[in-house]
């Protein structure tokens, strides 16, 4: 496949801004109310309202083809052991049954429609509402408590309360007939996650289903107890409408809703959701994936990263990644005593000029004080046609204003090659970590877990990434 770099014109801001907006997922990611993304036999699956769903081989390019029994609304999925438990709304939500909602669960061994083991079994109702009570049993969300293995289901919509029941993780059915617990109001599409001793309830506020006028936004409260009370950062109980913002409309996308956690380990967390309307795709509802950060104990959407021009700063030293060439003194002249006259700005270094003295072949990479040098600024550009990883395409990293590209070497080191060729050693997976810093991995060694690391205060290389190793974290800073 011919590699082609996505053009400046396509993404707009490269020529005028330092950051570029994140790219919408590739392929045909059209879905509403996506379930939590599940990995199955090397592929990713998410299911939506109506019965169908999306499949991706890399998490970047999505297309239809997933199949789910039951139809209905807003499914969710969780992996328990080597099986998958799926829930969906079989009635309610103002459909033919009004607000007499019902949620079903069922099991699957695989999501691959081509597998001989494909199929759904034990499909039955686990919770209903009568259409009169203050709840409409729709929009199920699973929560498998990592502290004890207990399984919960949260559900509901704007028609009254969000509620929680406990399920048997062996059967997927209700573990008892105790009354459901009211845990929130004024939201829908709820799910729970756990982090550092806290239980988090995430729900979607706002108006759904009005395309570009939808005001959907995802909010969160937390509790030390699995059943609440879930309180936001201002101390407002979600039973009184509280909720700290996780993500709202941004860029040219409107109405984020239906959060689903994607925990890839080693401080790489992302989340799936849908936008009610992607203006770049005619206002259609699309799947989206963003990094998930944790700030002061709260989850928040990460950078909408699409590339741009940056300095790449080492968390270890605070120094910046640079091409191993001789620095060129900035042409400044200190004014003499008593000198008057207009003060002129000093222009940035012209990379076309200073690069004339750079060696023609491969050049080593170093880490050094940031001194506004042209060889310390990097342009990160998404590359089309080479696949991607969860939620993102691969990027090339070139010295700004040049085609000199950062590359991995066969002996697991880094170097700058004279020109970008599209080889996998020159493609980079850039994941924002939960603290907002970045992990930078070459495509050629990503599966083995190698990432750019400051192995010395001033020396970069590639080592196997560990979240505990601050030397493998980088900041991307607009120069």
């Amino acid at each position: 496949m011919k590699t082609r770099v996505l053009t400046v014109a396509l993404f707009g801001l490269l020529t005028v801004g330092l950051y570029c907006p994140a790219l919408p997922l590739d392929g045909e990611p059209y879905i509403h109310d996506p379930s939590t993304i599940m990995e199955c036999d090397g592929k990713y699956y998410t299911f939506g309202t109506g019965g169908g769903g999306l499949i991706s081989e890399d998490g970047w390019t999505w297309r239809g083809g997933a199949e789910r029994r039951g139809g209905g609304l807003a499914p969710d999925a969780v992996k328990i052991g080597d099986r998958y438990l799926i829930s969906y709304t079989s009635r309610g939500g103002g459909l033919a049954g009004g607000h007499a909602g019902a949620i079903n669960t069922m099991w699957a061994n695989t999501f691959d429609p081509q597998s001989p083991d494909f199929g759904f079994n034990d499909d039955s109702v686990v919770i209903t509402t009568d259409g009169i009570e203050d709840c409409d049993a729709i929009d199920p969300g699973f929560f498998l408590d990592p502290t004890n293995g207990r399984l919960y289901l949260v559900y509901g919509t704007f028609f009254g309360f969000i509620r929680q029941i406990e399920l048997d993780p062996k059967t997927g059915k209700r573990i008892n007939d105790d009354d459901p617990i009211d845990i929130a109001i004024d939201c829908e599409a709820t799910v729970m996650i756990y982090n550092d001793g806290w239980y988090y309830l995430l729900g979607t506020h706002g108006t759904c289903c009005s395309s570009a006028n939808s005001t959907y936004n995802i909010r969160v409260g937390r509790s030390r107890n699995v059943s609440g009370p879930f309180v936001d950062h201002m101390g407002v109980d979600m039973l009184r409408g509280g909720g700290k913002l996780v993500i709202a409309a941004n860029g040219r996308n409107v109405g984020p809703g239906h959060f689903g956690l994607i925990d890839q380990g080693e401080d790489v967390q992302k989340f799936s959701f849908h936008y009610e309307a992607d203006l770049g795709r005619g206002g259609r509802s699309v799947l989206a994936i963003r990094s998930l950060l944790w700030q002061d104990g709260w989850p928040i959407a990460g950078e909408d990263f699409g590339g741009g021009t940056f300095t790449i700063e080492s968390v270890r030293s605070g120094f910046t990644l640079e091409l191993g060439v001789e620095a060129v003194s900035l042409s400044t002249t200190r004014p003499r005593r008593g000198e008057t006259g207009p003060i002129a700005a000093i222009p940035d270094q012209d990379v076309a000029v200073v690069s004339q003295n750079w060696p023609a072949g491969d050049i080593e990479i170093r880490i050094a004080d940031y001194m506004l040098q042209a060889h310390q600024k990097w342009t990160i550009t998404p590359v089309a046609g080479v696949g991607g990883y969860m939620g993102s395409p691969y990027f090339k990293i070139t010295v700004a204003g040049t085609d000199r590209a950062l590359a991995a070497t066969k002996d697991i080191d880094v170097i700058a090659v004279p020109a970008f060729t599209g080889a996998s050693e020159q493609l980079w997976q850039i994941d924002q970590l939960i603290d907002g810093t970045y992990r930078i991995m070459p495509k050629s060694l990503a599966k083995e877990g190698y990432a750019l690391t400051a192995v010395g205060r001033s020396t970069p290389s590639l080592t196997k990434f560990s979240a505990k190793n601050l030397a493998a974290r980088w900041k991307l800073i607009a120069p």
Binding site: H32, D33, T49, L73, A74, T89, G93, G94, L95, G98, H99, D136, I138, D139, T157, F158, F159, G160, I185, D186, C187, E188, A189, H205, G206, T207, C208, C209, S210, N213, T215, V236, R240, G241, G242
Partner: protein, 293 residues
């Protein structure tokens, strides 16, 4: 997945203004001027604020301090007659109880839970996306019954709106929020596409300065204290406590009248209201007493 509501309503006009969740808290409050009402303008039998196109009146040119009422069949059915509230007792709990005589303190967090609620006035609202400021001001500013911005009703009072009678009910809400949807349901009235008028009386033992009226409502609403517009909630809103708050206000010593109007299309209408001090703490040394009417 958003609840899809089973209602069929006429299609409204094309939207040109996006309904967003803005608040309005007029500085110092603005008076409702009942003299603005034009009693000669009558739109018989149809209460349809959707005929006021939100595309015609830009929010920017609508004065936030003036409610521009339009009279709709202002027939009053013996407003002086006090009738007992004929509640569907079995369907009111657990949401409401008939208001007891005597005084009622605010709830533990200061929410006012004793109100006079007027049975809902039908509207023509297909989608809450129409709830721009201009739409809300026109819809609520429409005069549906005489003196609607000044009347202090009693339990059982009736008003006639178009061909329909609506009754005021004095109720205590069992929750911090007043569940208007459940009220309408218990009255066998429409629950969607409706406008509620509510009134309560606050007695204060002292003059309290620098308080704020804090409101949450589903969906849009407007609120007045002693005839002055205090705070308004525009857009398709969910009921969140302390969602919008007024500028600093003064609660008079003695009787204070709070009046509100909550409008909704498809949705679970409710509201919560309390007063908070400079530190955001609830004002609780006040009482509610509908007997004083």
């Amino acid at each position: 997945m958003k609840t899809r509501f089973n209602i069929v309503m006429p299609v409204c006009g094309v939207l040109a203004v996006l309904s967003y969740q803005g608040c309005s808290s007029p500085a110092g409050g603005s008076a409702v001027n009942p003299t603005v009402v034009n009693p000669t303008v009558v739109s018989p039998s149809v209460v349809n604020p959707s005929v006021v196109s939100p595309t015609v009146v830009s929010p920017a040119v609508v004065s936030p301090t003036v409610v521009n009422p339009t009279v709709v069949n202002p027939t009053v059915v013996n407003p002086t007659v006090v009738r007992p509230t004929a509640l569907a007792a079995s369907s009111m709990p657990p949401y409401f109880e008939p208001a007891a005589s005597g005084v009622k303190a605010p709830g533990p967090d200061g929410f006012l839970q004793r109100w006079l609620l007027l049975e809902p006035i039908p509207q023509s609202i297909r989608s809450n996306a129409v709830f721009t400021e201009s739409y809300i001001r026109n819809a609520i500013g429409t005069e549906y019954f005489p003196n609607q911005f000044t009347v202090v009703p009693r339990d059982g009072d009736k008003v006639k709106i178009g061909d329909e009678e609506s009754v005021w009910h004095a109720l205590d809400s069992n929750g911090f929020n007043v569940k208007l949807f459940r009220f309408a349901e218990a009255m066998n009235k429409p629950t969607y596409s409706i406008l509620f008028w509510v009134v309560t009386i606050v007695d204060s033992p002292r003059e309290i300065h620098d308080v704020r009226m804090a409101v949450g409502s589903n969906s849009a609403s407007m609120w007045w204290l002693n005839g002055q517009e205090a705070v308004s909630l525009f857009g398709d809103r969910r009921m969140v406590m302390d969602d919008c708050v007024s500028k600093r206000l003064t609660i008079k010593k003695g009787r204070n009248i709070i009046r509100g109007a909550v409008i909704n299309g498809p949705g679970l209408s409710d509201f919560c209201l309390r007063f908070i001090d400079e530190a955001g703490e609830p004002i609780k040394d006040i009482t509610l007493n509908l007997d004083t009417i």
